[in-house]
């Protein structure tokens, strides 16, 4: 799969969780954007399925903001 950019990741999150794109600003905390634990799991699994990457708990625990997540996914697709 070709590398994807952060904007593409952001669009995918918005589509999967049916959130307005405007809510997914870089500095927003993930826990504010996705407060419900099941939705968080759905989002994380969907990103892996959509972009053909694999994430682990150590990586997820480092994530605080939307920018952290989009950057991680983008970096994984570029690897």
């Amino acid at each position: 799969m070709p590398a994807i950019d952060a904007a593409t990741v952001r669009h995918r999150i918005a589509e999967t969780l049916q959130l307005p794109l405007a809510k997914l600003t870089d500095d927003r905390l993930l826990t504010d954007v996705v407060a419900e634990s099941f939705a968080m799991v759905e989002m994380v699994i969907d990103l892996q399925e959509e972009f053909g990457i694999r994430l682990d708990q150590a990586e997820l625990k480092q994530l605080k903001t939307v920018a952290d997540l989009t950057a991680l996914v983008a970096a994984k697709t570029a690897a």
């Binding site: 634990s37 759905e42 994380v44 699994i45 682990d56």
Partner: protein
Amino acid sequence: MSGGLRGDAERWLLSYYRMSEIDGALFFGRLAKVIRDPAIQFDLTRHFADESQHSRWWSDCMDEMGVRPMKVVSSYQDAYLEAGGAPANVMEVLAVTLAFEKRVAGSYAAHTKVPTIAAPIRATLERIMKDEGWHIQWVSKALRAMEATYGEADVAAAIKRYADADREVYQRTLAEHDEIVQSLNHFKAA
């Protein structure tokens, strides 16, 4: 001889079962929408439908016994995610599911051992336990298949992590279930 409902404790228990099945359905429903592996998608969709059906059976059971579900604040799925960490990938989703399903099967089996259990409750437990056996079977098989992708050691570590989390959650929350089931043994048949 079977009796009726043993007051609010048993009503709470049936409400808890119902709510847990609803939570399970919501969890698996979300995942069934996004997981693409055809075999896992197929079984997960059936699993989602089972959990939803089970919540209906608990509603039917309570209706038959003339009671309404109580408000149950939380069930143990969230506690699992807190104790073992949210599953980070599909393999970990299956690992947490395995731990959870084993605990559910054990809890339901313990309840069926109450000698004076009401007939509608026994029938519902036995009906659901048939599905629970299949749930454990398909998840175990899928985890074995994932050893080729994730590595045997990582799969074993995830299973152990969620089994440990299960024990922690059990001590904190599910022990209440056992206490209620044990208290039911002290009731005499009507």
